[in-house]
């Protein structure tokens, strides 16, 4: 209690200090050491003082004794974990060496393992080493269970060497097929044998040589561990999300069902099945083709007429941790484009793939700017003075655009504005929108310089492109948009791109159960506002055009509490998935489309 104000004070100042980048990994290492020490030293004090006989002669039962010894240790473990959480949530996320899940996992597992093994030897060092070894074994068993079940279910293509490093890094958080509670429960089932074996064998713990205790401990541990592994495996098997199925309706009304193991293509009478995974958000819908990016495979073209797929461009292997530096793919005209790292740090390659002929051209650009920049985004492309150019913005690490020319020349474009560190950029009608946590700037280019024409206050935080996967969005000078829509706190708003005036279009609804309404835009010219109404359990779809918000369709009987529905709007129509029931409506007439083979 005395230390708490000091801790809170420290957690407020440390994350803001320049040494936080060193402090946090050191603090995390210290935590792991502390967990190990708190576990293995359970009886080291008594052993060091030759007080074991005295301890055991105290008028306590063995379980009371264990409780008295373990409880303060567990509280100290929780205390440092709390300090870590406060540090983490006060800004430590950028500095941590181990992600929240990884640290929590290792910290508690190491504590319980070392605690469980603490009575097995009188030698502190031996127990420490055995505990660390046991931690490795524990991890291997844990990840082996996950890996085997994922492989058996065909959910993941992770290799065994990748699995533990993936889970012990931040990436696991993106793996929706293994929910956090399932991982925790599986880990607890594996820890239970260690706890129970200690509990059972400690009831007869005495001053005899520790190997006698050890024999009893392992007699309990072995069957319990087998049981724990089975329970953990069962938990994972039940808990793996086998299948959120995603549906997408093509422009020619083919319904694509996508799951981990397969892709199904429905027309109104038949269904075809492919053993490939279709990533429903990353496409260019150009009947009969759907273009998408398959991680590890490259750019894939799915022919919905013949139910075949082919890889039209295989990307070079980019380490997973650098993947997000180059993850976006673009489309203009009949060309698919993406960036790749060059052979040297100052080189950036623009890869263009002809969607029809599959011809690939690569253009090399060199600039010092590329060395420390990541996540390049093509904002615009066109032809000037007979040469193609690309307006490029580095989303995460830089704050000014470049213009790349097809002859390899790079122009620095100046931004006359005071910006925050990280901004996301969008481009429409010759206007550059830079959004950050505090404001959005609208800038216009004159002679290679972007100047602010409007500053929009913090409240406007979700323009229509936010949240949209921008792969293969049409880019180019020919794209003219007259308006965009967004959310200002609890209001739906519109910006007129001619006048840059902001207009209020009414309430941005929120259901009582915490679900928010969303904006969807299909093409640069078609906007839909999907409104959730918790009270009457409906979803209303509005069309947005000009200053008009027009109710197009009301869908009823949605259970928002369980969040068991999906609604996808595409150029072809709307797919609504409620539990296992799937309904499809064409746009713009909202006629229901029936698929005979759709279960």
């Amino acid at each position: 209690m005395v230390a708490l104000p000091a801790v809170i004070f420290l957690t407020r100042i440390i994350p803001k200090q320049p040494y936080a980048a060193i402090f946090m990994p050191v603090f995390q290492s210290g935590m792991l050491f502390w967990a190990l020490f708190m576990g293995v030293s359970l009886f080291s004090s008594e052993r060091g003082q030759k007080g074991m006989e005295y301890l055991l002669s105290l008028p306590y039962s063995k379980l009371q004794l264990l409780g008295i010894k373990v409880l303060p240790r567990f509280l100290s473990i929780l205390f440092f974990y709390l300090v870590f959480l406060i540090l983490y949530y006060h800004g430590g996320r950028d500095f941590v060496a181990l992600a929240l899940f990884s640290l929590s996992f290792l910290y508690f597992v190491l504590f319980f393992i070392s605690l469980s093994l603490s009575a097995l030897s009188d030698n502190f060092l031996v127990i420490s080493l055995v505990s660390l070894f046991a931690l490795v074994v524990f991890n291997e068993i844990f990840f082996l269970i996950l890996w085997l079940l994922m492989r058996a279910e065909g959910i993941s293509d992770y290799s065994w060497s990748e699995i533990s490093s993936t889970f012990l890094s931040l990436q696991w958080e993106g793996e929706s097929w293994l929910p956090f509670p399932v991982l925790i429960l599986a880990a607890i089932f594996l820890l239970f044998p260690l706890g129970l074996a200690m509990l059972f064998s400690f009831r007869r713990f005495d001053v005899r040589p520790s190997k006698i205790y050890g024999r009893r401990y392992f007699k309990f541990l072995t069957p319990l561990l087998i049981l724990g592994i089975l329970c953990a495996a069962l938990t994972v098997w039940i808990g793996i999300d086998r299948g959120p199925k995603y549906f997408y309706l093509t422009q020619d009304h083919k319904l694509i069902e996508s799951a981990y193991l397969y892709t199904k293509i429905y027309d109104q009478n038949n269904v075809s099945k492919l053993s490939v995974h279709f990533f429903p958000y990353s496409f260019w819908d150009n009947p009969p083709y759907l273009y998408y990016y398959d991680w590890g495979n490259g750019l894939v073209r799915l022919n919905t007429a013949t139910a075949t797929s082919e890889t039209i461009y295989s990307e070079p292997k980019i380490p997973r941790k650098r993947y997000w530096d180059y993850y976006r793919r673009f489309k203009y005209g009949n060309t698919l484009a993406l960036f790749e790292p060059g052979r040297t740090g100052d080189e950036l390659l623009l890869v263009q793939i002809d969607a029809t002929t599959k011809d690939v051209t690569k253009i090399s650009f060199k600039h010092d700017f590329f060395k420390n920049s990541s996540a390049p985004v093509i904002l615009d492309t066109g032809i000037r003075e007979g040469k193609r150019f690309w307006l490029v913005f580095f989303q995460w690490t830089a704050n000014h655009p470049l213009r790349l020319w097809e002859d390899g020349h790079v122009d620095n474009l100046e931004v006359k504005a005071e910006l925050l560190d990280q901004n996301s950029a969008e481009y429409a009608n010759g206007l550059l929108f830079l959004s950050n946590a505090d404001f959005t700037l609208v800038l216009k280019e004159t002679d290679n310089t972007f100047a602010v024409v409007k500053k929009i206050a913090k409240g406007y935080k979700a323009w229509h492109w936010v949240g949209l996967w921008p792969y293969f969005s049409d880019i180019g000078n020919d794209m003219r948009i007259k308006e965009i829509y967004g959310q200002d706190q609890a209001r739906l708003v519109r910006i007129d791109l001619e006048t840059l005036e902001i207009e209020d279009l009414g309430e941005w609804k929120r259901s009582e159960d915490g679900n928010w309404s969303v904006l969807r835009f299909i093409t640069p010219h078609e906007f839909y506002y999907v409104e959730e109404n918790g009270r009457d359990r409906t979803i209303k779809i509005f069309g947005l055009e000009g200053r008009q918000k027009t109710l197009l369709k009301t869908f009823e009987n949605f259970d928002f509490r369980q969040n068991k529905y999906q609604i996808e709007i595409s150029k072809g129509g709307i797919v609504i998935q409620r539990r296992k029931k799937v309904q499809v409506y064409s746009l713009p007439d909202f006629q229901e489309i029936k698929y005979k083979k759709l279960g």
Binding site: K50, G51, L56, S57, P59, D206
Partner: protein, 281 residues
């Protein structure tokens, strides 16, 4: 009627493959003072540790009298096990708190004149023994378990120790169970003698009966086979026969000088006989 304070039933303890206690059965009565003797490794300390609940038996039961709580059992191990990084004051406070001692008997502790701020580990073996005893006596024990320790204490402190123990037996009616090999100063304390060998009791006698049953004969010749003896010791001075069980008739029939023995000598002979049996086997 004698009142049992604790009873041991079918006690078995193993150290790996070695059997330390082999189906032991014994009862101890209130106020009784018992000495347990035996050769090294006979199982004496293991039995005492079982009684103190420091060793959990593999089989069997230790039944304490109904009103006996663990606070009333006092145990001094031969390792003088205490939390030695504590100061004497801390150790005393801890012991009283843990054993819920409301009204401690400090009379013995006050005689010791210890510096309470020194650490337990800085005490000599003798001081530490007395300090440990003072902690235990403060809890007014009903059972006092003392492993072989007083041999390491100098004669002055040993006397103090024994006085305190005798006082506790008188004052609280405590049952004292001690392991001892050095009998010179405690000849008159034990009322009962238990001899152990190979994890079993080979003798359980009242001290007075035992003294009456064992006599020593010193002679250069062999004694007649009608006189049973438990142990024969040969030296340059002649042969010593430890006659057991001695019968009064022997004095009438034979002209030997059947000498009475001190308890220490008796126990020595009994242990010696066990070694002799081992050699024979």
């Amino acid at each position: 009627m004698n009142q049992n304070v604790l009873e041991v039933r079918n006690l078995k303890v193993r150290f790996g493959k070695k059997v330390a206690l082999d189906d032991i059965n014994v009862r101890f009565q209130k106020g009784e003072s018992v000495v347990i003797a035996g050769s090294n490794g006979a199982g004496k300390s293991t039995l005492l540790r079982c009684l103190a609940r420091v060793i959990h038996p593999d089989r069997g039961q230790i039944i304490y009298a109904g009103d006996m709580t663990r606070q009333k059992i006092a145990f001094i191990s031969d390792g003088l096990s205490l939390f030695e990084n504590m100061t004497l004051k801390q150790g005393q406070d801890f012991h009283r708190r843990t054993f819920h001692i409301q009204d401690p008997d400090e009379s013995f502790f006050q005689q010791l004149h210890f510096n309470l701020n020194q650490k337990i580990k800085n005490l000599s073996v003798g001081e530490r023994t007395l300090y440990h005893l003072s902690l235990l006596l403060a809890q007014k024990p009903a059972v006092l378990l003392i492993d072989e320790i007083i041999h390491a204490v100098d004669p002055y402190l040993r006397e103090k120790f024994l006085e305190a123990v005798i006082e506790a037996i008188d004052k609280y009616g405590a049952t004292m169970i001690t392991i001892n090999h050095t009998f010179s100063e405690i000849q008159n304390i034990p009322e009962r003698v238990l001899i152990m060998e190979g994890g079993r009791f080979i003798l359980d006698e009242k001290s007075e009966q035992l003294k009456a049953k064992i006599k020593k004969v010193v002679t250069d010749a062999e004694i007649p086979p009608e006189i049973p003896f438990v142990f024969k010791k040969e030296s340059v001075f002649g042969k010593e026969y430890f006659v057991y069980p001695f019968q009064d008739d022997f004095r009438r029939k034979y002209s030997y000088d059947f000498q009475s023995l001190e308890l220490g000598e008796i126990i020595k002979a009994l242990i010696g006989s066990e070694y002799a049996k081992k050699r024979m086997s």
